[in-house]
Amino acid sequence: MKAIASIVRELFGLFVEDWTFAFELATVLATLVLMTAFSIGSANTRALLLMALPAMALLMSVARARVP
């Protein structure tokens, strides 16, 4: 039970630490899954988005953390 709780805590830790970042990340991934399912955009475009959008979300998250 303790082990499961620790996994859930780690998994959802990002939502607790920065809800906006975790939500952005989840939204990016869900959007890319849908884009793939409906063949929206080329595979290269989607691969580029998969790499760039989480990186951008990370930068925005650390920029938000800097603001007092």
């Binding site: 303790k2 996994i7 990002l14 920065d18 970042f21 991934l29 998969l50 790499m51 990370l58 953390a65």
Partner: protein
């Protein structure tokens, strides 16, 4: 059987398996240095056991397993873990949150571990991360061996090539374990966060059937992008001195 035929089967199996084993080793080492070698070992052994059971029970039927779905799930999990670690590491280097006082943490952990049973001191998440990496990459090795060996009718030689690659990578991992343990924890977490995020993006893409340019080589590019992002993040988050 002519020697050329044997080499033509075992060499591609060796090289292709080497790439997959190195990927698995990277994650296992990352887990070992940050979450403990015991967790990494337990996850690895459990992963190898599950793989061996699957191979014995299913054999060539394994090819029907939807590895893409597995890669997608593991990729998304790694991306969330990696991003969380990387975000924290960036904020530490930028001075937003306090650095780990490793000596103090060591003492606290040592005291708490003395009160715990060996089973309780196992880091479950670390073990699961290592287990996932070993299963995903191991399945890919199994597919390579079946693809290379079954079509040429030389499954034994392809398996030998893959086994040799596994031995080489395990040996390299054992050698790297000592030096890696001496790297400061904060630097390790920064690097591991970058690597886990990179692997997360790569496996999510594989799960979604994206054709990465250069296949596994693109991992270096993805990890490079995250490394640059992390350095930029430190610069952005660092408080300005006026």
């Amino acid at each position: 059987m002519p020697i050329g035929h044997i080499v033509a089967t075992s060499l591609p199996a060796f090289l292709a398996s080497l790439v997959e084993f190195v990927e698995a080793l990277t994650i296992v080492l990352a887990v070992g240095v940050t979450r403990g070698w015991r967790s990494a070992g337990v996850g690895t052994v459990a992963g190898v056991a599950v793989l061996a059971l699957a191979v014995v029970a299913l054999g060539p039927l394994l090819r029907t397993i939807a590895i893409a779905a597995l890669q997608l799930v593991v990729g998304i999990l790694l991306l969330f873990f990696g991003m969380r670690w990387l975000r924290k590491a960036i904020l530490r280097y930028a001075g937003i949150i306090a650095f780990h006082d490793e000596a103090k943490i060591f003492e606290r952990e040592r005291a708490s571990l003395c009160d715990m049973s060996p089973a309780a001191s196992l880091d479950t998440l670390g073990a699961i991360t290592a287990f996932n990496a070993v299963v995903v990459e191991g399945l890919e090795v199994v597919f390579i061996v079946i693809a290379v060996g079954a079509t040429a009718g030389t499954l034994g030689y392809a398996s030998a090539g893959a086994a040799l690659a596994g031995g080489v990578v395990i040996g390299a991992g054992l050698l790297a374990r000592g030096p890696l343990s001496r790297v400061p924890e904060n630097a390790l977490k920064f690097t591991v966060g970058i690597m886990l995020s990179g692997f997360g993006v790569f496996w999510t893409g594989e799960g979604l059937h994206y054709a990465w340019p250069g296949d596994e080589l693109s991992l270096l590019g993805i990890v490079g992008v995250f490394a640059l992002t992390a350095l930029l993040g430190v610069a952005i988050a660092r408080p300005r001195t006026t």
